[in-house]
């Protein structure tokens, strides 16, 4: 159906090209194979295969509705939570398919964290409680003393510690928008995942907060793998190592960021990044 809409053969996307040296990063932490996802009967992404480089920042760009968010939600099994959400294909992490029947999605999400577009601070919890929630809500009982180190470390990594260290007991919702988003990042880091998925984390933020989060991503890259969905092409160009361009549910091109933005192989990628459509 999608092929017909475009009137051309999308199957020959960059991922399946011959140029195997450029296909995927050297050391992949996630390997996606023929991933398709649906909402009810509507196909949202079709047959995507790619490798996510370990300790890389991988950016996904593309026009609204192209399936970027759906795709990263498939990477930590969040897509199946949506109404009518269904997935086929495989995603390997350390040689293990996270969609295998014996795998508990909750365990997958402990290793692959996620930050959403809208900062979803838990309004009933304090700043401290928000950061600790991933730990305190998976244990039977935890003492504040034991949690304190984790909270402090996570907030420091999220570059928020200096701003909140004197008001850890105030409600998380009392922070500004940019601070709330960093609080969500701290909360995601606190459970020490290996991969952090970010779904347009800066789209609701002002340029200064955006800059802070971008710096933060570069910082996080040392310990974690980051996958970011963004509408902002400058952002993708600034922070990411590899960039994937998606269109109508398919991965059109996936290569080193520098190549995608300077010598795109596909005409559609070029059109998009030069602003001719989308």
């Amino acid at each position: 159906m999608i092929n017909n809409m475009l009137g051309q053969n999308i199957k020959a996307g960059a991922v399946d090209g011959e140029d195997s040296g450029q296909l995927r990063p050297q050391k992949c932490i996630l390997t996606v194979e023929q991933l398709s996802a649906w909402y009810g009967n509507r196909m949202a992404i079709q047959d995507i295969s790619m490798g996510i480089g370990a300790q890389h920042i991988t950016a996904l760009i593309g026009p609204s509705g192209c399936g970027k968010s759906t795709f990263i939600r498939c990477l930590n099994r969040m897509h199946e939570v949506s109404e009518g959400g269904r997935v086929t294909g495989r995603v390997f992490m350390d040689g293990q398919d996270i969609y295998a029947s014996q795998i508990d999605p909750v365990a997958v999400r402990r290793r692959i964290g996620m930050v959403f577009q809208k900062a979803s601070v838990f309004p009933t919890m304090s700043i401290f409680g928000n950061v600790a929630s991933g730990i305190s809500l998976t244990r039977f009982w935890s003492r504040r003393r034991d949690l304190h180190d984790v909270v402090e470390r996570s907030l420091k990594k999220a570059a928020l510690w200096e701003e909140v260290k004197d008001k850890l007991d105030q409600p998380g919702a009392s922070l500004s928008g940019g601070q709330q988003q960093r609080l969500c990042i701290a909360r995601a880091i606190a459970i020490e995942p290996e991969i952090i998925l970010m779904d347009e984390p800066c789209s609701a933020l002002d340029p200064i907060s955006t800059l802070r989060i971008e710096e933060l991503m570069l910082e996080l890259k040392r310990d974690y793998t980051v996958v970011i969905v963004t509408h902002n092409m400058q952002q993708a160009a600034r922070v990411s190592d590899w960039t994937g361009f998606m269109l109508l549910g398919q991965l059109i091109e996936y290569a080193r960021t520098k190549e995608v933005f300077t010598v795109p192989k596909d005409k559609r990628t070029e059109d998009y990044i030069t602003g001719r459509f989308g």
Partner: protein
Amino acid sequence: MKAQSGYFRRQQFSRMMLVLCGVATAMVILVLILILGYTLVNGISYLSLDFITQQSKPVGEAGGGMRDDIYGTFILVGLASLIALPVGLMAGIFLAEFAGPKMASAIRFAADILAGVPSIIVGVFAYAILVRPMHTYSALSAGVALAIIMIPVVARTAEESLRLVPNSQREAALALGISRWRITLGVIVPGAVTGIVTGIMLAVARIAGETAPLIFTALGSAFGVQGLTQPIGALPLQIYRYALSPYSDWQQQAWAAAFLLVILVLGINIVVRLVSRRKKK
């Protein structure tokens, strides 16, 4: 000219409808004021500390209060809450968080029907399943009857409040690798707690004034509160008995009890207002 007269007529009609709506609204408020005023005027004269702290006295003896019946009402409400709160809350949580859309709408339909069953029928039901097998009227059977009335109210209001918690909260918690039941207890329920408490209070206010089911179950008691397996008095029951009695002293007491009951229910409603207003801040 013709167009203008049409406009004038429409304006007149509009004005008339506005006045009618205003009158209807005034009637609603007037009824409330009349009930409050009537019970106040008739009840306040008998109301005293003795009325609340004294036992009832036999016909002919002056004085006497409704201590046991007030106590009984609290026991019955407590007993009903003890049964209805866990059942209602868990049903509400299941409805909002775990049931599929088809199942949820079926359960919701059933709950709404249960909420609409006339209370006297609930009373007859409790009579059939508890009073007859136990061969005695009892506080327990009355508590069960009131609980049956309370459960759907609690379940539905809990469900509505839980649904108001945005889905992004559930997703954020899921993405942290927290299990569903911990999310529900640790994130969703705390976020809905004011709404849930409001629903519980309204359900309590509703059953505190129920009379019909108590006639078949609690019966009333001239000997005070004797235990859960014995008949027990309650304010609405006593209002019913005393108001129908031929003794003017008892009729006076019925008015005072009615006033007390109205104040109790009104008080609960005001507390609900305060609680839900605090949430909006």
